[in-house]
Assembly symmetry: none
C-alpha cells in the first residue's frame, strides 16, 4: 500500500538491532529480564523523554523465527512470503561473495561405512581438520562440467559451498539422510528444471567421496539447504531510502546485501560501528546497526553477559542521538531468552525515539513495552510506522 | 503455517474451559465481575507466580459467538471457515450418537390451525408431553423409504432428529415459517443434490401431521438447522496431540468428538472430572476440561452462582497443577455477562500457567487481563502460543 505514498527527504532513520534482545524472567537468577536488570541510563533517559514503546511479533504468535525471517520482517518484508534459504544464510555467514545465479549449500563432513552414514558430523572434527579437507578438495576439484565449485570451511565439521555457473536450480532435495545409520542419499531434482543441477552436485559428491576414501573419519560429505539468492524487492528502492548496513558479523551484512543495502566495511567493535556511521551519515538516510552479542549471551544462557552487552550498547547511544536522526529504533530481530538458551516466540521489546510520538514516559524493558503506546504489532508493520515518524509517507486518499 | 513445524513430545497441555467466563461490571449488585469478586486463592497464586494474562476474541470484535464458534476457535479453527450446524449441536447436546452421513435437525412441536402455524412452541408443552409425543411418532414412523428416523425429546416443546441412510444432503431450507400466524412451509432443496432428502423430510412431516391430527395443542412439527457432521481436520492429527475431552454436558463431549478428540466417560461432577483426568494422564498430551455452570449462571443473570462456580473450580486447580502439566490454560469459550443474561461479544479473560512466560505478577480477572503480556488476541491464535510454551513447535526458517 505504501508504494504510492513514499516521500523523499533527507531525514535519517537508525535501526539499532540487538539480536535476540527479548527475554523472560530468569529465576532463580533474577525475576527481571536482562533489559530490566541492565543499567542503561542513556537509553532510559531517551525512552522517558522522547520514546514510545511497544512489542513486535516477528512471524506470528507462538512462532519462533530463524535469523532470516527475523530480519526480513524488521525491514517490512512478510517473512512467510519471502525466504532466505539455509544455504544462502550459511554462505553469507562465512562472508562468501554470493552472486546472482549462484547455488549455495550448507555442508558437513561425515563418516561413511559401506555407503552407510554412521556419523553425520564425522566425530565433530576440529575446525583445522575441516580447513585441511576443504583445501584438499579445492586443489583437486574446483569445477564440474563448467560449473565452478567454491568451498569455505566453517566451525568444527561444517563448511559451505557455492556452485557458480549457468542454469543452476535450487529445486533439489538434500543430499543427506538426516539420520544416522542410514544409506547415503543423493540430491534429487524436484522439477525437470533441476535435473542438470542434480547431476552436477551428485557428480561432485562422488568425486569428493573417491578423493577422501583414505580419510579415517571424515570420508564423506552431506549437502543440504540448496538455495539461491532470493528474488526480493530492493529495500532502498521500495522505500526510497539509501541504506547502509553496519554489522560486525558477516551473516547480517550478507542479509543486508541481499536486500540491496550497502555494506562498506567490517567494523571491529561498537565504537568502530559508530565511526562508520558518522563517516557515512550525510550520504545515507537509513542505517542498520546490528549487535550480535545479546543473542550469543542468550544462546549460552548467560544472563550477566546479556546485561553487560546492553550496558555497552547504552554507552554508544548518546553519540548516535547527537547525530540528530529523526527516528532511532532500538529492538531485536527475535527473543533469545537466557533460560531457553535459544530463539523463542516471545514478542520483542521495541523502543522508538522520535519527536512525534505519544511519549509514554516509561523506561525500556519488556513489561513496560507491553504497556506502550505502539502496542503489540507484527515486525513487518514496523517500517510504515518508522517512515511515518520520519515524514516519508504522504497522506492516503483525499 | 505450523503444520510443517510440529514437534512430538509427551508434555501435557490442559485447557480448563469455564463456559461463558467473561463478564462485566454488575451494578447495582457489584462493580466487580464474578471473576474479580470470587475468592480463588489457588488460581490467583498460580497467576501471580507463574501466570501470563491476556484476552481472547472468539470470532471478531463485536461478534457474539454461539457455542460452536466459541469452541472451534479455542482449538485453533477459524470459526468463520469451519462451522458446526445447529442440528448437529442439538443432537450432540442430547447425547445422541451422530454418525458420518447422518442428517441432524432441531425440532419443535407446534400448533397448526388449517395449516397456519398459530403457536411455534405448542404452548411450551411440558417435557413429559414431548416425551409422550416422540414415543408416539417413533412407534408409528421409524423410517421413510429406507431412511431411518431417530427422535430424542429435549426440554419443553423441543426435540432433535437424526435421519440415517445413504444420499442425505443438508442443503435444505428450514421446514419452519419462523413466525407465527403464517402458513406452514416445507423444506426446499437448495441444490439438485438435496431433492431426494427434501422428499424424505417432507414425507416424514406429512405422516407426523396426519398422526398427530387428534392432538389438542401439539398437532404439528417444525424442523430447522439441517446439518451433517462437518468436514473438519482432526485436532489430534493436526497438532500431533492425543486429546481427551472431559465434560459433564453432552454437547461439549459431542463437539470434542466431532474434532476427533477421545471421550471416555460422562463425569458426574468436578471431582469426577479430576478422577478421569488423573486416570488418563499418561496416555494423552492434551486435555479439554469443560465447566458449564459459569455459563448457566450468566444466562440466569445469577451473579452469586457464577462467583460460587469459580470458587468451586478454584478448589480443584491444585490437583490439576500437581500433575505437573507444561501448560494450563484457564479461559472461556465466550463471555456470558450476568447483566446481559446471555452470550456476549466481550473479550474473554485468559490465564496461561507456564514455566516459560513473561510472568505478569497479576491476579486473574478481566481488568488485569487487559494489561497482560499476552495482549488481546483472537481465540484461534491461542493454540500456537500454547504449543510454543509446550515446546511443540520447531523454529521457522533458518
Amino acid at each position: 500500500m505504501i508504494a504510492n505514498i513514499i516521500l523523499n527527504n533527507n531525514y535519517k532513520i537508525i535501526f539499532l538491532i540487538l539480536d535476540g534482545l527479548g527475554d523472560i524472567q530468569n529465576p532463580p537468577f533474577s525475576y527481571q529480564t536482562p533489559l530490566e536488570a541492565a543499567k542503561k541510563p542513556e537509553i532510559d533517559k531517551l525512552a522517558v523523554n522522547s520514546g514510545i514503546l511497544g512489542r513486535i511479533i516477528p512471524v506470528d504468535i507462538g512462532i519462533t523465527p530463524g535469523s532470516g525471517p527475523g530480519h526480513l520482517s524488521l525491514f517490512g518484508y512478510d517473512p512467510v512470503i519471502y525466504e532466505i534459504g539455509r544455504g544462502v544464510l550459511e554462505v553469507l555467514g562465512l562472508n562468501m561473495d554470493l552472486q546472482d545465479g549462484d547455488l549455495a549449500a550448507r555442508a558437513n563432513f561425515c563418516t561413511l561405512n559401506n555407503n552407510i552414514v554412521t556419523d553425520r558430523r564425522a566425530g565433530r572434527i576440529a575446525t583445522s581438520e575441516t580447513e585441511r579437507l576443504c583445501n584438499r578438495i579445492t586443489q583437486e576439484i574446483n569445477e564440474i562440467e563448467g560449473i565452478k565449485v567454491i568451498l569455505k570451511p566453517g566451525k568444527s565439521h561444517r563448511f559451505a559451498i557455492i556452485f557458480r555457473g549457468e542454469g543452476l536450480s535450487d529445486e533439489l532435495t538434500d543430499a543427506d539422510p538426516h539420520r544416522e545409520n542410514r544409506p547415503f542419499v543423493y540430491a534429487q531434482p524436484k522439477t525437470e528444471n533441476a535435473v542438470f543441477t542434480s547431476k552436477i552436485i551428485n557428480n561432485f559428491i562422488k568425486k569428493v567421496t573417491t578423493l577422501l576414501k583414505d580419510e579415517a573419519i571424515a570420508n564423506g560429505i552431506l549437502l543440504r539447504g540448496f538455495s539461491r539468492k532470493p528474488d526480493i524487492p530492493s529495500f532502498p528502492s521500495q522505500y526510497s531510502l539509501k541504506a547502509l548496513a553496519i554489522a560486525t558479523y558477516p551473516m547480517y551484512r550478507g542479509i543486508a546485501k541481499v536486500l540491496g543495502m550497502d555494506v562498506k566495511e567490517e567494523p571491529r567493535d561498537y565504537h568502530d560501528m559508530l565511526r562508520v556511521l558518522k563517516e557515512n551519515y550525510q550520504e545515507y538516510q537509513f542505517f542498520f546497526l546490528h549487535i550480535k552479542e545479546t543473542d550469543l549471551a542468550g544462546e549460552d544462557g548467560n544472563f550477566p553477559d546479556k546485561v553487560k552487552t546492553i550496558e555497552l550498547v547504552d554507552s554508544i547511544v548518546p553519540d548516535i542521538f547527537n547525530l540528530n536522526p529523526h527516528v532511532i529504533v532500538i529492538t531485536g530481530d527475535h527473543s533469545t531468552p537466557c533460560p531457553l538458551k535459544g530463539h523463542s516466540w516471545h514478542p520483542v521489546p521495541l523502543l522508538m525515539i522520535t519527536k512525534t510520538g505519544e511519549r509514554d514516559g516509561l523506561t525500556f524493558h519488556e513489561r513496560n513495552c507491553s504497556q506502550g503506546s505502539i502496542g503489540t504489532i507484527y515486525s513487518k508493520q514496523l517500517i510504515s510506522l518508522v517512515l511515518a515518524h520520519a515524514f516519508k509517507l504522504d497522506k492516503y486518499g483525499a
